[in-house]
Symmetry: C2
Amino acid sequence: MTTADARTPASEQNAQNAQDAPNSEAGKSIGWHKGYVQGSRPDLRVPVRQVHLTNGKDVTLYDTSGPYTDPTIDTDVRRGLTPLRENWIISRGDTEEYAGRPGRPEDDGLKHTSPRGGLRNLDAVFPGRPRQPRRSRDGRPVTQLAYARRGDITPEMEYVAIRENVEPEVVREEIAAGRAVMPVNVNHPEIEPMIIGKRFLVKVNANIGNSAVTSSIEEEVDKMTWATKWGADTVMDLSTGRNIHTTREWILRNAPVPIGTVPLYQALEKVDGRAEELTWDVYKDTVIEQAEQGVDYMTVHAGVRLAYVPLTARRKTGIVSRGGSIMAAWCLAHHKESFLYENFEELCEILATYDVTYSLGDGLRPGSIADANDEAQFAELRTLGELNTVAKRFGVQTMIEGPGHVPMHKIKENIDLQQEICEEAPFYTLGPLTTDVAPAYDHITSGIGAAMIAWWGTAMLCYVTPKEHLGLPNRDDVKTGVITYKIAAHAADLAKGHPGAQDWDDALSDARFEFRWEDQFNLALDPDTAREFHDETLPAEPAKTAHFCSMCGPKFCSMKISHDIRREHGDSQAEIEAGMAEKSREFAAAGNRVYLPIAD
Amino acid sequence: MTTADARTPASEQNAQNAQDAPNSEAGKSIGWHKGYVQGSRPDLRVPVRQVHLTNGKDVTLYDTSGPYTDPTIDTDVRRGLTPLRENWIISRGDTEEYAGRPGRPEDDGLKHTSPRGGLRNLDAVFPGRPRQPRRSRDGRPVTQLAYARRGDITPEMEYVAIRENVEPEVVREEIAAGRAVMPVNVNHPEIEPMIIGKRFLVKVNANIGNSAVTSSIEEEVDKMTWATKWGADTVMDLSTGRNIHTTREWILRNAPVPIGTVPLYQALEKVDGRAEELTWDVYKDTVIEQAEQGVDYMTVHAGVRLAYVPLTARRKTGIVSRGGSIMAAWCLAHHKESFLYENFEELCEILATYDVTYSLGDGLRPGSIADANDEAQFAELRTLGELNTVAKRFGVQTMIEGPGHVPMHKIKENIDLQQEICEEAPFYTLGPLTTDVAPAYDHITSGIGAAMIAWWGTAMLCYVTPKEHLGLPNRDDVKTGVITYKIAAHAADLAKGHPGAQDWDDALSDARFEFRWEDQFNLALDPDTAREFHDETLPAEPAKTAHFCSMCGPKFCSMKISHDIRREHGDSQAEIEAGMAEKSREFAAAGNRVYLPIAD
């Protein structure tokens, strides 16, 4: 299969066109398997999900699940994934390996004097893979933005062009213009490149994060692969507390998707949770630590300036962002301008040497309907616009984070203002939640806002799980959050008229119309639950089929009638109308029986 | 409490203002109970849900749950609810009791010759309550539309005015103009009146329906009360098969909300499921049967005209409405114009004599993204506009049903066109579903579309459950569907700027900001699940509270800081800014500890 043949996200094509990897876990027997689209070089193979329909056709879907769903690849969390980008990075010749920052016990949340020395664990975790970090050889930016600006189409750009079914030049242009980002740290060669920008498919981020009590490191890696299995395009590791460095290492070495973090969280751990003890040096050291590990994008709350804190004093819910609250606390404690804002240019220089992408955090986002679109929020947004310009000057890829809690009629102003102020840099929003009254259902309150803001131009959506405001998401919550947000993202792709997006809906609706139940399940965003719900109430006995599903039965239902007419009487309106009279006779002759669907 | 004091949907007020009914099932001990707002006459008392906050205030919420949540009322499904509207109806003097249509075995889906005589069961069900149906004394309309036009403010209008927190005259005007309907059959005196119109709160309908195999009559009544407990404003009984008449009687006698049906389903049962054997006489007889029972609104697919059926021939998914498919089958079998269309005026005369509201069905609604806004759909809509005008001429209250499957960018055209063509008659839509690819999650795919179309003017939303396209909804599915749609409806109320709508969000967000967890739960759309999710991961130990919720901890979190500043330093910007410096010193003195929320 060539690039030109690949249609993303969904296209019907003959199965033999794809390079197939037989999938034992979830292979042809249950209707789909992993395939690859070959790029212009042997080591550029883009994974796809091939759904095999019972009518002999295949549907090709975008695949975020990584090597874990390819049974020909033997994955092992203690070895990590194959660094497929390594040669691309090395062959550019603009980076070098170096000794790197020495690991310290406090990187893992341990005391300076801890006898355990947390980082010694790392050697035990990845014994067969000693690695040195890599950085720009001469301090100049080694970012996809820098390459795009000078006209280079990198293998990474070709890779995402195949994934998105566009020309590589489109990818280069969008990145060069700052309208899209591709978070690909040179120290995360395991990544399968993806792109975030309004001209591309809407992406979904899932947050995970350890807790000393409730989950182990293995569980966090499992949560990451679980999230990508259901379609998460990126994952943010919001771990705090013990083993934070080691957890991140495990996640990065096993992550086929970009990993984002909020370095401020770890920096705060290093000063024992005392915000006022934070310093630029501690923060900078933490950023370098994480950049050397391979973090692809970092949330930086540099827009929370001292002068904006009083603007939140009369809010219904004050400051609700953890990063925002830490920075506000620091500014208050010292009554000084934010050290992130003051040292932003130096931070840009660091990020540019690893190709870490900025996610400029919205620390003053509204935490309630009452606070939406207020002066605090938009004052910060204007500062993010200013910082976006600075970052671009340093060649750093940049996206902008957005709210939050916003009623529907105030959503569009957010994206319009962000696009204007930030020169169309990708917007990355949390929901927004369209009402405050439904804790336990905030995946839905926010899924509504997410679909709308993505339609209007948001490039990536940060998921919200049912546990938002209430507790830590478990495995089921992660899945529910991802599926809900994939719905929002795909609904937006449709509304934006993204080329090929509707092919997926059409394939599923065709299957529905033709009573190909297995195809419906295999094409569904969540085949497991669709099949389970169906089997729960649909007995095998054919006569009951019609009564126990919400679709028409197999014979003489009106969908079937339309279908027969089309098949038998051609496509022109006149032919169809002529066919109607004939159909009327045939229908009467066959007994005039109408099978009933259950819902109207 | 007087009408003027009641603020709907939410207002904080002193508890002693309300007439309280102590609630043993879910009373003060768990934070809320049933209250009533007294109207201008002793028998006009509007139920509300009083949520008691821990700060001593009350929040009053709209209540659909009926007498079932009032422990002072002894309900019994075999006796039915108190007919609270009976005196209002009788005192108008324009209706009369009459013998009514004799019950027949086939009304209950039994053979003509059945020895069991299904309708004898009815006497056994309601032994203490023999009733004769009521109808217009002289054949003139006894509809709220007719009363509104002649300038009368009925007790029903005052009742909904209190519920909606508007002046009764607004209710009268909206009904008189055809922009709102109040489905209140004179034979359903048990109803607590409610109104459907774009100037009022967005309403939610839940569908239920028996199946000979999967549920009993008692289960259907239970499903109805379960749906209204969670907020369903109306319920459609889509039962088919055996005991259809008896099931409906049970539901109506126990329903505090309007009940809708699709008479075509029962008519089809009477001709043994053979669409071509349907006749106007069988249909008309069924409508009278159901009107005499007290059905408040009926879906009538009179817009599926013979000429439109060929327009569906080239669709992706043909005709997906059960009623639409039955009528299309009839038209095809006879190659004749729809008997519903041809006899529409006579149907209007019948409905007007009971005050049954039309819900003009969209039998040709799109069943897939591909078919959205096509010629078949809009041709039918134009006919519905024509029929709406006819219905109004006969004094019949009328609303218009809408789709279906529609991508986001095509939703607004639906409501705009409907409002234009149907002279602003209330729109009543199923979703719409914004993508086809997520069976098992169609409450979410459709909740997105529902929120948007309601914002733009849809008056009532027909819920979709997770089982849509897959099977029959169970109790959990009904709850999930209702909650999802209450979210969509309330999000729309906020976006429309409905007076008082945001009070509910504000009360919950205040509780969140002040760490009043119990108040958050009690104010939540689903207190049970919110509490359960919270308790799942939040240990009792105070130090862990901050780490195990997604809100800031109890001390020195930034929300708390803003809160303290506001309390201590007044409200003016200058005072707050002055306060900041002081706060900075105080914060440092207190140890500068920042408690961390879990998610950012």
